[in-house]
Amino acid sequence: MAVSLERQNGLLTFIYWIWNELDRTIFTAIKFSFPSRFVSPFGFLGMLTFIMFITLGVTGALLMFYYEPIMTRSWDSVAFINNDVPFGFHIRNLHYHGSNAMVMLAILHMYYQYFSGRYKIRNEVLWVTGVILGTVTILEAFTGYDIIFSERAELAISIAASLTNSIPVAGPMIRELAFGAGFHDFVLRFYAQHVFILPIVMLGLMAVHFPRFLVFDVPMVMAICGAMCLAGGVFPVDLGFKFEPTVPPGITVPEWYLTGLYAFLRTQYVKFLTGVLWPALFIGALLLTPFLDRYKKFSWKDRPWVTAFGITGIAQILVTTYWGFYIPPDTTIPLVERLVIDPINLYLVMILLVPLSFGFTLMMIHLAKDAERKAKLAKANGPKKVSGINLSVKWTNWMLVALLAFQVFLNIAAYNAFLSGMNNVNLWITGVILITFAGFFHLYRYAMAQSKNIPKPPKFPTTKQIETSQESLPQTDVLPKTDVLPKTSGEKP
C-alpha cells in the first residue's frame, strides 16, 4: 500500500511501465474507485454481482476437472467431487452458494436501480441489457443445478423441456434443436450451455452493461465472499438422490428463484400460459419500464405509479415464492392433491395483492414524505449531532493487532478443522476469516483517513506566548472568583 516512490526497484518500474502502457487500452475508459471510507453497498451491487460471476467462473472451471456430463455418470462424478476430492466439498459449495448470491445480488441490484430511478439518466441501454443479463443469470443458475442429474434435476429438466414443447407450432422442434431428444442429450447440452454458451452471452452483455464508473470496495467484496463461505459451512448443499427412471422421485421443489414460477405451474393450467407467457410478461414489463416511466423526478417517493407497480411485483414474487415451496405436510392426502394449487385461489390472491400493494405504497410514500418534512423542521431548529464511533490512534492500533491475532487463531482453527476432516467447519471458519479481513481492512482505511485528518501540531510556542500563558496561569487558579465576576462587574461602574 504505502510503497515509497523513492525506493523504485526494477519490479516497481515494470509495474509502472505496464500501468502507463494501459493508457492505450480500454481499461482507462473504466474509472475504478477504491473507496477510502464506508459507502453504501446499494450503489455498487452490480459490481458485487460481477465479483460473484468471477468467483463462479473460477470455482466452475475447477469443477470441470472432475465433472462428467454423461447421463449415467454425472451424479456419481458430483458425489466424487463432494466426498473424495480434497477441497472438492469447498469448491462445490462455493459454486452453489455463489450462484445463489449472484442471483440474489442481481435481483437486489435491479430493484435498487428501479426504485431510485437511475435508468433515467440516459441509462436505458444499461437497464435493458441488465434485465436480459438477469434473465440469463437465472437460466445459467438453472442449467447448473440440472446437470447434477439428481431426481430434482431430472424434474427440472423435464419442466424446462415441457415448457419449450408447449410453445405453439415450433415448440417440439425448438426443444429437439436446442436440448436434443432424451436425457443423454439433455445433460450434455445443458452442460454446454452452462459452461460456455450462457457465460459467453453474459460476457457479451456485460461489455455493454458495464458503466464507466466502477466501485471496488475491498471490505464489502471480502464480506460477501465470506458470507458465501459461511452459507456453505452452515447449509452445505446436498447431492439429492441419483435419478433412476424406474424409481418414483420424492417431492422436490426448484431453487428459490424459480419457486415463484413453480407455484404457477402447480396450478396445472396450460403450461404455455403459466410457464412461458407469465414470466415473459414480467420480463417484458421490466424491459419497458424506462420507456413507460415518464416522471421527471428520480426518487421513488415522487413516482407513485412506478413504485406501486414495483411493490406489487415484489409482493407477488414473495407470495408465489413461498407458495411454490409450500407443500401440505399431511401425507394422508394423495400426492397430486398436495401438489396442485387451486388456480382460482392463486390468481385471486395475485389480484388481491394489487390494491394491497398500491395502498401500502401510498402509505409508505405518505409516511416517508412526512418524515422528510419533520427532518427538515428538526434541521431548521438546530443542528442534530450524529454520534459516531471515533477511535483514537492508540485504540485503532490495538484493534488492528487484536484482529490480526484473531486471524492467526482462525487460520490455525481452520487448518485444524481441515486436518480433522470437518470440511464444513473449515469452510465456515474461512468465511469468518474473510469477514474479519473485511473488518481489518475497513479499520485500516479508517485509520489512514484519520491520519490525514490529524490537525497540524501547533507551532513551537514563542517566548512571548510562554510569557502570556504564564501570566494567565494565576487567573486560572482563581477560577471560582472569575465565575462570580460577571455579577460584580455590574456593580463596578
Binding site: 415441457s162 434443436l177 422421485p249 394423495p334 400426492l335
Partner: protein, 200 residues
C-alpha cells in the same frame, strides 16, 4: 431520386441495387440453411424397421406372446449401452387383455407406448391386474388407457392435446408371427413426440 433514374418498372437504380444486395445475401447464405440439421441428434432420428426384441433377447412372436402382458423394449436401439438406458428409448410393449381384443392373432392386439409419462417424465408401466388393466405412473398417478394411450386420470389427463396421449410405435408381422417395428415418424400428427405426446 430524379425522374431520369427511374427505370421502366418505376424502380430507382438505388432501390434496384439494394434489392440485388439483399438477394445476394440470401443466396450467399442459402447453402448454410441445411446446416441446421447439425442440431438434432441423429442417433434418435435415423429410424428403420427392426425386430421387436424382448428383454430376454428373443424376438416377439404374436403366436406366443401372452395375452394381457407387457414388456419393456428399447427403440431405437444403439450400440451404446448408455444411450440404450435412456428413458426416451423405453417403450411398453403390451398385448391387450382379452376384453380389449388381445386374443386376436394379429398386430392389432399389440400396443407400444413411450414409457415417459407426459406429465413429468417418470416411467409409467402397465398393470395387468383385474380392475386396473391400465398404464399407471408412480409419480403423480396419471392413468393411461391401454387401448389408445390417452391419459384419462391424473395430471397428464388435464394437459391439453397433444400432451395427453402417449407417443406410440406401429408393428408389422411376418408369416411366422415374428413382429417388427415399422419406421415411425416423430411428429404430433404421426407417431407422436416422446415426452410431449400425439394427437389421438
Amino acid at each position: 431520386m430524379s425522374e431520369q433514374e427511374k427505370g421502366p418498372g418505376g424502380m430507382s437504380r438505388r432501390d434496384f441495387l439494394k434489392l440485388m444486395g439483399a438477394a445476394g445475401t440470401s443466396v450467399a447464405f442459402a447453402p448454410f440453411v441445411p446446416w441446421g440439421k447439425f442440431m438434432p441428434n441423429p442417433s434418435s432420428s435415423v429410424l428403420e424397421k427392426v425386430p421387436v426384441i424382448l428383454p430376454d433377447g428373443t424376438q416377439a412372436n404374436l403366436n406366443t406372446f401372452p395375452v394381457n402382458h407387457a414388456e419393456v423394449i428399447t427403440y431405437p436401439e444403439t450400440a451404446d449401452e448408455v444411450l440404450n438406458e435412456e428413458a426416451f428409448r423405453k417403450w411398453q410393449f403390451i398385448r391387450l387383455p382379452e376384453k380389449f381384443g388381445g386374443g386376436r392373432k394379429d398386430v392389432s392386439s399389440f400396443r407400444a407406448y413411450s414409457m415417459v409419462c407426459l406429465h413429468l417424465w417418470c416411467l409409467w408401466k402397465y398393470w395387468p391386474d383385474e380392475g386396473r388393466m391400465r398404464g399407471e405412473c408412480p409419480c403423480h398417478g396419471s392413468m393411461y388407457d391401454v387401448k389408445t394411450g390417452t391419459a384419462y386420470l391424473g395430471p397428464a389427463s388435464l394437459q391439453p392435446a397433444p400432451s395427453n396421449t402417449l407417443a406410440q410405435l406401429n408393428f408389422e408381422a411376418d408369416s411366422d408371427g415374428f413382429m417388427f417395428i415399422s419406421p415411425p415418424t416423430w411428429g404430433v400428427n404421426a407417431n407422436g413426440v416422446v415426452g410431449y405426446g400425439r394427437f389421438a
